[in-house]
């Protein structure tokens, strides 16, 4: 069951939430819509579900299984939707919540009572809450509620599962567990799923493909590896983790940033065009003595060694601050001290000149 949207725009008053967005999700995929708040990701999800209508346009189409569903109501699309704040029905027990979608179907399509009971029991087992069927939502923890919401969405045997910031309201620890659980669940049932998140870690860990959105547009679509290691725009680079930024210029085909001259491999940019260099903190290294590679001097300002990496803050001669992440082994060998003069070298960089990425 594939999902496809073509040339979708949506505005709320003067605010343009989506600008001409097209996207295809293949059957069985788990896709993340990643972006800051206000980037239009939730709006896109709601349009796919049929909860909102896109602005009318000649080419605007929403296809489920290659079938235009523009004039079909949310209910008839057979879409399972999981909301950020669970949206469980408070006056119903967990069991009734999950059974609800089946019980309200027209009589002709409604499964009989025994079938509903069996299906709910099976779903309760799937979400590992077998004994809590008679509880009310208010008696459950946040993580449990979200799993019930997921079961409720799955009960109608949706062709597509849509999740709107499913773990947004949960604490970090529970989020970790649920992420793993959702990943396994998807491997088990393989329903085409799209989830919205503003947490890049979540997107990179869970999804087969990540769609990075900004200001109503899609910035990049790719596997987690692609968007992390080969971002095509500055926004994607900045949004997916910490970066250090250097300003420089293009000189005779090379981008020049202080002591570093970097071969612009993708084709020459205009001479003198401004260029920006992005370096992830773990792609910088600290040296005591030059090893022949171009280095820049800097002073150590702060060291934070708690956590998986040692974070070192450096101040360059130009006054700019740099963030460097060292492994604990490297830190042990170097033993830098605050106030010490060191050298910085580059390993892996991305350059964005005025018009395109190199």
């Amino acid at each position: 069951m594939s999902i496809e949207v073509q040339n979708i725009s949506k505005s709320f008053g003067r605010f343009k939430a989506l600008r001409d967005v097209s996207l295809r999700v293949d059957s069985g995929e788990l896709v993340a819509l990643l972006g800051p708040s206000g980037s239009g990701k939730t709006t896109l999800l709601r349009i796919i579900a049929g909860l909102d209508a896109p602005d009318p346009g000649p080419n605007a189409r929403v296809l489920l299984s290659d079938e235009d569903v523009a004039d079909r109501s949310a209910g008839s699309r057979r879409v399972g939707f999981v909301f950020q704040h669970y949206a469980l029905f408070r006056h119903m027990t967990v069991f009734e919540n999950i059974a609800f979608g089946m019980r309200v179907r027209p009589r002709a399509e409604r499964p009989d009572k025994a079938a509903i009971r069996e299906k709910v029991t099976q779903l309760l087992r799937l979400i590992q809450l077998e004994n809590l069927g008679s509880r009310y939502p208010s008696q459950l923890s946040g993580g449990q509620r979200q799993r019930v919401a997921l079961a409720r969405a799955l009960a109608i045997e949706p062709r597509v599962l849509l999740l709107d910031e499913p773990f947004g309201a949960l604490d970090a620890r529970v989020r970790q567990d649920l992420r793993k659980w959702l990943r396994r669940l998807h491997e088990e049932i393989h329903v085409t799923s799209v989830f919205v998140t503003h947490d890049q870690e979540e997107a990179l860990e869970l999804a087969n493909r990540v769609v990075v959105m900004n200001e109503g547009r899609i910035e990049q679509i790719g596997t987690p590896d692609e968007v992390f290691h080969q971002p095509t725009t500055e926004f994607v680079m900045k949004f997916l983790g910490n970066v250090n930024l250097f300003h420089g210029r293009v000189e005779s085909g090379k981008a020049v940033f202080g002591p570093w001259r970097i071969q612009a491999s993708g084709g020459a940019s205009k001479e003198g065009a401004p260029a920006r260099l992005f370096v992830r903190p773990h792609d910088l290294d600290i040296l005591r003595e030059s090893d022949g590679s171009p280095v820049a001097p800097a002073v150590v300002r702060r060291i934070q060694s708690a956590g998986p990496h040692v974070k070192v803050e450096l101040e360059m001669q130009t006054g700019e601050t740099l963030l460097v992440e060292l492994t604990h082994e490297r830190h042990k060998i170097l033993q830098p001290e605050v106030g010490e003069q060191v050298l910085v070298s580059l390993r892996n960089v991305r350059i964005f000149t005025e018009d395109y990425a190199i």
Partner: protein, 361 residues
Amino acid sequence: MSDLHLKGPEELNQDTGAHLHKEVKRVWRKGAERLVLDLAATRCMDSPGGAWLLKISDFLRKHHARLECQGDRGDVSDFLRLLAPALTSSPPLPRKRTGIFENLGGVLIAAATELRQFMELSVDAIYWTLIAPFEGKGFRFNAFVDEVHEMGVRAIKIVCLMNFLMGLIIAMLSAKQVESFGLQIYVANLIVIGFARELASVVTAIVVSARTGAAIAAELATMTVQEEIDALRGMGLNVSQYLITPKLLALIVSLPCLAVLGLISGVLGGGVWGVLVLGFRPSVWYTQTMEAAYMDDLTQGMLKTLFFAVAIVMIGCHNGLRVTGGSRGVGLMTTRAVVMDIFSLICIDIVFAVVFYYILG
């Protein structure tokens, strides 16, 4: 022409900066476009001095003028370069003023849009309540019974009490007025006619709109905020059919019943005053009351309650579904629903008064 000139101090710091600021204000005259500050004599400046420059520049910008520094050198120039982005940012735009017609038009458009949404919702709800069940599209009988219990049965006590007290008060006040004519026995007529035609239905409807109208708005608003409405729609349910229909039908059934109970309580309240205070024998008061009571008055009074019921439920639902902005919005919409409810009750009442007692009567 419209330039002002000032000389900078030898050393621009906290004190001289403040002084300069005062000086600028003193020499300022309306219509000037530029203040030229001659810094040729200034040897050095510090951060407080810079801050005063910003303050001067802000002052000028407010009056749509700019600050220009001349003749600066050495360290002062370096410092000014740091300040430059703040000093040279564009003057603020004059505030946009909207005219009376623009405001009026905005209000009218907003009102018309809301009225359209309200009518759409009402038509949808009335279809699902009055027509769809006969087309075999299903009706939630259990929910209907629950709502009748909640809206009708549980409101009996308060409705009766309010009407009883109203009857008592009206008897008390009107008896005083007719005392000098010796017409106190006609207070019985007044009470029964007044309650049958007007008071029983209106007082009951106001109590119910405060009780049930607010509850409906709050319930739907909470469901909207917590995305439950979206969840229902996502499962293919029609919100009108699932949520509004049982409420609408329940109040259409309950409100006339409550109004009849209200009528009885009101008449009883008047009777209590008549018998206990005015000193009539119960049988006299009873006979007088029954002679004045006409079925027509009661029918007209009760007919109104059907319209009241639709108004209370639809306004509650409309406001509940319109909510934006979290739990704060829920409170706002609930208040709004009650205010609109009572306003619309009075409007419906006026229409009925005009039609029945002015045109037809």
